[in-house]
């Protein structure tokens, strides 16, 4: 039961403290009286997992001469400029997914000296309209002690221009969006005297707003230095052409300051990063210091062993070759460490390998080995059809394919043979399933989204026959072959058929 529970936390995003919690829960339930390693292990897990999912700056991220470090320093300079000297600045941080843009920005914010300022985080994919963005800004300002005097008036304004924001096709509306957004923004920014740093995640999405009103106003304020307190606009995006998406008037107001962030390019850098991410964190609790040291040494030794291991290296290399993506790395590392229990504190390399396998983004064939046999047969039939380069099929087609095959292979097709043979030996059970069973299997496949309906929903709504709704198969040949090989209880003939298409 324990093992089941450990492995059975379903697909989901585990954010920082969560995984710690998951492990904590497991520990509490497993062994209240802690075995010798539980405390240090828990500490290890906490800190490491926090790093894996977290965004707080890594120790010593600045001192290696990577590009990120430079970016951070530049960014810090800019922010300091606007925070201390009340300048208006605007920066765009560009970098691929998972290369640590947010990390850079945060560490820069952290690096800004202690003078109080208001950071505002806006997220392009969440605040999809200027209205929402402004609201959010107001909220954060209020939350951070900004005395927003005329918030209600602001709300009103925001509301009406929010309507305008949705309906962009009325020119007269969109004109006064600009102004009203501007006024709203000004009231906002005037709300507190402190310097304000606006961080725009997914900058490109803000550029997609109606007439880029928000960006226009922000950048305008930033450039014109209209605000005494000082204002910095930091945008992060993964689109290198983000600046070109800006309208001319907006772009002219954007100080073309673009910083680049990228993940480690070299194999060595990658390895060092990985090693650092696994190394035992520095701790300063004296509760069980002895255990800690003991454990620390063992752990580091284990990490060393890991890095010598070829499997582990394979994992790293695959990650590096596929996409040098730090979150991916973290995800892969997370599972074995989260699974580590005081009994087996040191996850071997093959766990990492397994973790890597399980984290591959397109991974559907684990669905296949729970499928009932008719469904498998249908999948194979679908493949047979698509081998004759017809990539959409109806149930009738698949059914016919199956029937032909069955007629070819099985000499006495009896639906009865399913239970009789199965009772004796499921491995060689050969059977022809009648049409309605196949239909049920087909439905199951559609439910699992392995067969993806192509025909329009309206056609289905108007009562199209389900036998004739066209579908396409979501599976690749390789996946199916793997599944066929994994399935032990497959009838031999079906097994052969599964391999027969090339």
């Amino acid at each position: 039961m324990t093992s089941k529970r450990q492995r059975s936390s379903p697909p989901g995003r585990l954010h920082n403290k969560k995984s710690r919690v998951a492990v904590a829960v497991s520990d509490d339930t497993d062994d209240a009286e802690d075995a010798d390693y539980s405390a240090p292990l828990r500490h290890l897990q906490r800190s490491l997992l926090a790093t894996f999912y977290g965004w707080h700056a890594q120790p010593g991220d600045g001192d290696d001469g990577s590009e990120t470090a430079g970016t951070i320093s530049d960014l810090t300079g800019v922010l300091r400029g606007s925070v201390e000297h009340g300048e208006g600045n605007s920066v765009l941080v560009v970098g691929g997914r998972g290369t640590g843009k947010t990390l850079a920005v945060r560490s820069a914010l952290a690096a800004v000296p202690t003078r109080r300022f208001i950071p505002i985080h806006l997220h392009g994919s969440v605040h999809t309209t200027d209205k929402m963005a402004l609201r959010e800004m107001a909220r954060q300002i209020r939350a951070q002690g900004g005395t927003v005097t005329s918030l209600d008036a602001l709300q009103l304004q925001v509301d009406e221009n929010g309507e305008g924001g949705e309906s962009t096709e009325h020119p007269e509306h969109t004109i006064d969006i600009g102004q009203s957004t501007l006024t709203a923004l000004l009231t906002l920014l005037a709300a507190s005297a402190l310097p304000i740093v606006v961080v725009l995640d997914e900058f490109d999405l803000f550029a997609a707003h109606a007439r880029q009103a928000l960006l226009y106003c922000l950048l305008d304020c930033a450039q014109g230095g209209r605000r005494r307190g000082g204002l910095a606009v930091v945008g992060t995006t993964c689109r290198f052409d983000a600046v070109d998406m800006l309208e001319k008037r907006v772009k002219s107001r954007f100080s073309q300051r673009i910083l680049h962030v990228s993940s480690p390019r070299t194999w060595t850098a990658w390895c060092t990063l990985a090693r650092k991410s696994l190394s035992y964190p520095h701790v300063e609790d004296v509760a069980h210091a002895k255990q800690l040291d003991k454990f620390k040494t063992q752990w580091d030794a284990h990490v060393e062993r890991l890095f010598d291991d070829t499997q582990f290296e394979l994992v790293l290399k695959m990650l590096f070759d596929m996409l040098a993506d730090i979150p991916a790395l973290y995800r892969v590392f997370a599972i074995p460490i989260a699974n580590a229990t005081p009994e087996k504190a040191f996850p071997p390399a093959k766990e990492f390998l397994g973790a890597y396998a399980s984290q591959r983004p397109t991974d559907t064939f684990y669905l296949l080995d729970t499928l009932p046999l008719p469904a498998i047969a249908l999948v194979i039939a679908a493949k047979q059809i698509s081998a004759r380069d017809m990539h959409t099929f109806t149930f009738e087609l698949v059914n016919k394919e199956y029937d032909d095959w069955a007629r070819r292979t099985i000499y006495a097709p009896t639906a009865a043979s399913v239970d009789m043979n199965a009772m004796t030996n499921p491995r060689i059970a050969i059977s022809v399933w009648p049409r309605h069973i196949l239909m049920g299997a087909f439905d199951t496949l559609v439910l699992l989204n392995l067969f993806i309906p192509v025909s329009s929903a309206s056609a289905l709504a108007s009562g199209e026959m389900r036998e004739y709704a066209t579908h396409r198969c979501a599976l690749e040949n390789g996946e199916i072959r793997q599944a066929v090989e994994k399935r032990r209880d497959l009838p031999t003939s079906l097994y052969k058929w599964g391999h027969s298409w090339n």
């Binding site: 089941k4 492995r7 059975s8 936390s9 379903p10 697909p11 989901g12 995003r13 954010h15 920082n16 403290k17 969560k18 919690v21 965004w55 998972g98 947010t102 985080h121 997220h123 994919s125 969440v126 999809t128 609201r135 959010e136 909220r139 939350a143 997914e202 993964c238 979150p327 995800r331 983004p361 397109t362 991974d363 559907t364 684990y366 669905l367 080995d369 729970t370 009932p372 008719p374 109806t394 009738e396 087609l397 639906a415 009865a416 399913v418 239970d419 009772m423 499921p426 399933w433 009648p434 309605h436 069973i437 049920g440 299997a441 989204n449 108007s462 009562g463 199209e464 026959m465 004739y468």
Partner: protein, 402 residues
Amino acid sequence: MDFTLDFLKQALPRNTPFVDSNEAYNARLVVERVLSAFGVDGDSTNPIERLIDGLSTLNGGDSSKRFIVISDAHRLKSYGNLLIALQRLPEIINSPLTLILTSNQPYTTLRPTNGLSPDPIVVNIPSVTHKDILDYLILNRPVHIGENLHNSYLALCNFIMSSTLALNTQPKELLKITHKSWPTFIHPWKELSARPSMRDNDHLTLTFSKISKGVIQSINSSLPDHMDLLQASLPTDLTRCAQLLLIASYLASYNPPKKDIQMLSISSDKRAKRYRPRRRDIGLSKQNKKPAQNLLGPKNFSFDRWLHIYGSLLHFVSESTLTTYSLNNLKNDSRVFTDNELGQVDVLQNIAHLSRIKMVQRTCPSDRLDGMTFKCAIGYHVASNLAKSFGVKLHEFLWDIS
């Protein structure tokens, strides 16, 4: 899957919202569930904003870890960018919060475009092993089973497992089936107090396996075990006119329009029909051409074509099935007859009825009145049986027979 949920339900803190996306069928409801579970409320009409607003109010005590469990998460795809917001939540509101999505579809089906949200950690729930299923079945056996019958129940479970695992691997369904088939299984065993021996159990199993073909068949099919879809779907209660119309619709959507004249001209000269190419010899010629129409499904046909096929079909059906009235018309003049019959109110009314009960699918927007197009929604067997009831052979009118 269900077991996972059950486990999570007991493992996670009390106030964790378990949102079933089947039940919360749009973003607003999901947000509503989450907020109400956390006992907070956010003021906005936009669900996402509301969510953020609400959750960021409980930002204070970060020591408390929060979870959100959403089952059947693949439905979130249609909820706008709620998913992104949910996955970004901890970043946005700076509080530890965990999203757990369960789904029976791979994450790729709902991953947002250009990586707007970080990929989750994927954990595959391992497939339940046969032994586990068996234990599960035995664990919750029907309560009324006497102590003495456990062995035979075990035998039943073994039988069900061995005979149906090929077809179905859902423990709960298997359990249902087992419970359903228990009485019939134990039925031959008369004295319920006695303890049947091993041989008796085998005997019972054999007898049961003889009678239980229907059960086994029905396990993975979409039909109840006693039901045969063909004869069930025979529209016997339709009017003759409607049945004829159905046949006509079948012909209309499976015959190439150019061949209508040849197939059902009133002067049904057999020579014309003999020229029809058999399915197999063209099968040789076009090996990898598109397959037969009856595999690809019905084609649309126009209203008038339908009517006319219906009209000419009236000339073939055996007289006993027609009304005396239309027979009279048939006698005196075929052309006038068809004109006369086709416009009739009842034909139109029947057409309306047919398309209402979805026996004929209407493939044009419902506000279009001229040039309506339809699509046949019955299978070959239904159509041919109907035709038989009218004393005509369907395949005589079909262009290609496969």
